[in-house]
C-alpha cells in the first residue's frame, strides 16, 4: 500500500536515496508491510518490529464459498428488481385518482413522470438483464419486469386518454383539413 508523500526516514524500505538523510523528504517510498515502524500505536507495543510477509493480512478473510442460502438471497433480490414496476402500479393508480382529469400543470407533470419512467426502464432493459444474469429464472424475471413496465406505460396512456390528451377523435385532426377546392367560378349580383 503506497502512500505518496509519506514522511521520509524510516528503514526497512526501498528508497532512492540513502537513509542517511533523515530530514529529507523522499520522492516516494514503498512499504511492503502494514506494520510500519512509523505507525505508532497499540500495534507497536504488542508486536514490535515484526515484519509480515508480503500479502499477509492481519484480519481474518471471510468465507466466500457459495452457500445455499446466498443463492436464495440472489434470487430474492432479482425478483425484487423484476417486480419493482408492478409494485409501483397501485401507487400510480392512487396518484392518478388523486390528480383528477383536469388539465393543469401538476396533473400534466404527474402524467409525464408516469409515462417517462416505464419508457426509461424499457430503454435500459439490457442493463437490467445484466443485473438479473445471476438469477436462474432470468427470463421469467425479465418477462415480469417487461410486463410491469408495459403495464405502467399503459396506465400512463390510459391516464392521457382520460385526460383527453390523445388525438383519438376526429376533432383532433380538424386543423389538418384544408379548404376544399372550388370547382365552379361564380359571380354576379343585382342588375345595376
Amino acid at each position: 500500500m503506497a502512500s505518496p508523500g509519506g514522511q521520509g526516514g524510516g528503514g526497512g524500505a526501498l528508497s532512492t536515496r540513502g537513509g542517511g538523510v533523515g530530514a529529507r523528504r523522499m520522492k516516494w517510498a514503498l512499504e511492503l508491510s502494514m506494520g510500519n515502524t512509523r505507525t505508532r500505536g497499540d500495534r507497536q507495543g504488542g508486536q514490535g518490529d515484526v515484519v509480515y510477509p508480503i500479502g499477509y493480512s492481519e484480519k481474518p478473510v471471510p468465507d466466500t464459498s457459495i452457500q445455499e442460502t446466498d443463492k436464495n438471497l440472489v434470487e430474492k433480490r432479482c425478483w425484487d428488481v423484476a417486480l419493482g414496476p408492478l409494485k409501483q402500479i397501485p401507487m400510480n393508480l392512487f396518484i392518478m385518482y388523486m390528480s383528477g382529469n383536469t388539465i393543469s400543470i401538476f396533473p400534466i407533470m404527474m402524467v409525464c413522470m408516469m409515462a417517462w419512467r416505464p419508457i426509461q426502464a424499457l430503454m435500459s432493459m439490457s442493463a437490467t438483464f445484466k443485473v438479473l444474469e445471476s438469477s436462474s429464472q432470468q427470463w421469467l424475471q425479465g418477462l415480469v419486469y417487461l410486463v410491469g413496465n408495459l403495464l405502467g406505460s399503459a396506465l400512463a396512456i390510459y391516464k392521457c386518454q382520460s385526460m383527453g390528451l390523445l388525438p383519438t377523435h376526429s376533432s383532433d385532426w380538424l386543423a389538418f383539413i384544408g379548404p376544399p377546392q372550388r370547382m365552379e367560378i361564380m359571380g354576379g349580383g343585382m342588375v345595376l
Binding site: 383527453g164 377523435h169 380538424l174 384544408g178 372550388r182 370547382m183 367560378i185 359571380g187 349580383g189 342588375v191
Partner: protein, 964 residues
Amino acid sequence: MAKLIAFCLKFILLCGVAEAVFEDQVGKFDWKQQYVGKVRFAHYDTQTQSSKKVFAATEQNVFAALNTRTGEPLWRHVDKSGPEGNIDALLFHGQDAVVVVGNGRLLRSWETNVGGLNWEIVLDSGSFQSANFVGQHDSVKYVAVLKKSTVSLHYLSNGHQKWLENLPESETVEYQTVYSNGNSDVYVLGVVPNSHITVVVYSVEDGEIIQQVTVQAPWLSDLQASCAVVSDGILMCADSGTESLYMLDLHMQTYAQMTQVTLQSLGLEMSPGFHPRLVSTQPNSARPPLSEFFLQIGPDHHLLLQLNNREIVNLRDFKPAMLVSFATTGEKTVAAVMSPKNQTACSLNLFSAESGRRLLDTTLIFNLDPSGGKPEELFVQAFLKKDDSVGYKVMVQTEDHTLTFIQQPGRVMWTREEALADVVTMEMVDLPLTGTQAELEGEFGKKADGLFSMVLKRLSSQLILLQAWISHLWKLFYDARKPRSQVKNDVTIENLSRDEFNLQKMMVMVTASGKLFGIDSKTGSILWRHYLDNVPSNAAFQLMVQRTTAHFPHPPQCTLLIKDKDTGLTSLHVFNPIFGKKSHITPPTLPQPILQSVLLPLMDQDYAKVLLLVDDQYKVFAFPSTKNVLQQLQEMASSIFFYLVDSSQGRLSGYRLRTDLSTELIWDVVLPTEVQKIVTVKGKRPNEHVHSQGRVMGDRSVLYKYLNPNLLAVVTESTDTHQERSFVGIMLVDGVTGRIIHEAVQRKAKGPVHVVHSENWVVYEYWSTKSRRNEFSVLELYEGMELYNSTVFSSLDRPHAPQVLQQSYIFPSSISTMEATLTEKGITSRHLLVGLPSGGILSLPKMFLDPRRPEIVTEQSREENLIPYAPELLIRTEWFVNYNQSITRVRGIHTAPSGLESTCLVVAYGLDIYQTRVYPSKQFDVLKDDYDYMLISSVLFALFFATMISKRLAEVKLLNRAWR
C-alpha cells in the same frame, strides 16, 4: 389534444390585453374626419372685424360653422337625412341664424357664437316657397315665411307667430317671393305662369291686406328664376324671348303695365338659348336693396347694371366672367368677379358696386386643380383695412364639391374635400414594397442569365438592402435625439411603402360626385384625388381591384365601372390605385348597357384578373381581352357561372358561359312582385378565408360546416306594409344550380333588413312589428358529422341538404349598417361590426349570435364554451370600437385584413370617415405595448451569467474533490 390547445389558449388569454382602448391609445391607431357636404348657403360672421367663422348650410342637411383659419368645423348640427331635414333657407341677422328646415316643417334660430339653439317652432303644413326678414323702423324684428297658400310672420326674438294669413286665389297663383323694404308692408309676389303677376301687400301690424294688384306678364313663368327686387321696391325681370328687362314699381298705388327695356337699347345681345339670371343684394334687411345688380346674359357674360332714376345704366361689362358675387362690409358694397386667366388659373377682382371701377390691388389668383372641377360658386368675405380700403377673402366651391379658402394674393388657407361626405364604395389596396424590396423581388421575376451574374445580382441587391437598413437605423437614431414634436412623418406618394405587418394601406374611395380619392389609412391624409367630370348624378358605381401590388413590376390596377341609371350607358375608368393616375390601358367602349360585372380569379399573362361584363343582350365582354385570356375563358367556360337579380321583376336567373362568350340560361326563380320584392342579395366575400372546416362538439366529435362558396342570401320584403301582414323572407340559393337550400320567413316583421353573409352563417336584422323591437336572427348551415367530399366543392355534386339552425335575439337599438370582421387566414374569431344611429360602432362577438346556444346548460355545452341562450343581446359600452368618436350617419363599414392575423382594419364612412383597427381575439400575435423588455432581457442575462459562473465553480469543486 384539443384540450391541451385550449389550455394553452386560455393561458394566453389570461395574459391578454384589456378590451377597450386605454387613455393613451386614443388616436394612436384611429382617426376621424368630419365633413359637412356640398355647401348650399354660406354666410360670413360679420359681427366683429376679427371674426373667423363662416356658416354653411349644406345639401347633406348640415348647418355648421367653419373656422376660416384652419377650415375645421367649430360646431356642426346634423339634421335628419333626406327631404325631412332639408335646409330650405338660411337668413342671418346679427348673431342669429334663422333656418327653415324640411320643406317648411320647422323654423329654427341658432345662436351662432357657440351654436346653441335659440328657439324652434313647428310651422303649419304646406310646401315652403320663400322666407325673408321683415324690418320696421330700421330694425329687423320679424321673419316672414311664405308657403304655398299661407304667409306667416314670426317674431325674431322668440319665434312666436304674429299672424298667419291665407293667400288669395292660392289655387291658381304660385306665390314665390316675399319682400320687405323696411317700411310697414310685406309684399308677397306670385305668378300665374304665362299670364300675370299678382302682388299682395300685407300690413305688418295685423296682417291685413292693404293692396292686391295683378299685372299682365304673359312671358313670365317663374319669378324666382328670372326676377329680383332691386333698389327701392322695383321688381326687375329678365326675359329671354323678347330679350328685354321688365320693371315694375311695387310702391305705386295702381300698376298699369311693366316697363320694358330691350337689351338692344342698352347695346347688348343675349347668348342664344341662355336663360338670363339676375343677382341683387340687400345688405341690410331693414333697408331696401341696392340699386346695383348683376345680369347674366351668357354662360360667361355678366353685366353690372345700376337702376338710376328708373333708367338702367350699364356700369361695367364682364366678359369673360365665370362667377360674380356681391360682398358688403360696413357701408361699402363690392362686386367680386372671377374670370379665367389661362388654362390652369382664374383671377378674381373686386369692383366698386356703385361705380363699377376696379379697386386697386385686389387681384387674386385662384389656381385650378388639374384633378379637380371648375369653380361653381363664390363666397366672398370683404373687410375694411386700416387705410379704409377693402380687402377680401374668398371661399370657392368647385364642381367636385371642394371648398378652397383663399387669401390675397392667392394663398390657399385650406381646402376641404366635401365630396368625401358622400362615399359610395371603397377598397383597401396594399401599398407597394419599397424600392429596395421591389429590387429583390424583381430579381426572381427576371430570366436567369448565367450562374455568375445571378450571384453578382444577388450580392448587389443584398448590399443595397444592407445600405437601406443602415440608413434606416441612422434615421431612427437621429430622430430619437430630437424632441417628439419635431419628428414629422409626412406621408407623401414618394415615400409610401408597405410596413412590416401590412397595417398601412391605401384606401381608394369613390364618391357620389365622381371624385376618387386615395387616402393613407394610417394618417388619413389624402394622397391623391381625381375628378371624373362626366359622371351623372345618379350613377351606379362598382370598384374592382384587378391587379394588386404583388406583381412587380406590373403596376396595380383598379377598375371603376360607372353606369348611368337613366340612359344605361356604362363606362370604365382604369387607374393605378396607388398614384391615382389613369392607366394607359384603354378600356373597351361599351355600346350596350351593362347589367353586371364578374371578377374572375383567372389572370392574364400580366397578372390582371379578368373582368367579365354582361350586357343587356346577355352577351359577355372580357376585359382585358387578349388572346391568352380568351383561350383561358374557352377552356374554363363550362365552369363559369353568373347570376342576375332583377328586383323590379322579382327574377333571379343563373347563366352559364359558352365558349363563344355567349351565355345560356340554366335556372330561373321568379318571386311574384305583388307579394314581395327582393331587397338585397349577398354572396360571400371572395377574399374570405375559413380556417376551420368544422366545429368541435362537447363529445369531441366534429360538426362540419357547410361552406358553399356559391351560396347567396336573398332577402325579400313584403309589398304589403300593414303591420299584421308584413313579413321579411330570407332565401339561401345556390348561385350555380339555382337550388333553394333554405327558406325562412319572419312574420310580422319589416325592413330595412341588414344582412351579413360569411363562412357558413347569415346574420340579419329587421324590425319586428309584433313586439315593436329590433331583432337579430342568425342562420348557420352544417353538413353534419361527416364531410361529403373534403377535397373539392362542386355545387353540381351535393346530394345531401345541409342542416340549418336558427336562433333570434332582441337588440336594444336600431342599426344603420353591419359588416363582419375579416382576417388574413380566418383563424381569429369573427365579430360583427354594427353601426348604430347614435354614431357608435359596436364590435359584437359572433359567439353571441350562435344558434347552438343552449337553453339548458349541459356538461357538453359547457365543454364547447357555449353561452346559455338569453333573448336579449346587451350593448356593452366597452364593445364600442370608436369610444367617444361618434360617426355621424354611418352608411357603410369596410373591413380589410392586415398582415397580422389578429388585426382587422376597419373604415366606417358616412358623413364622417373613421378608421381604426380591431382585434377580435385580442392581440395574440403581438407583444403588449408595455411589455417589459428590460426586465426580461436582464433576467435572461443574469441567468446566463449565473449559469456560466456556477458551471465554473462546479468544475473547480469537482477538481478539488478529485485531489482530496
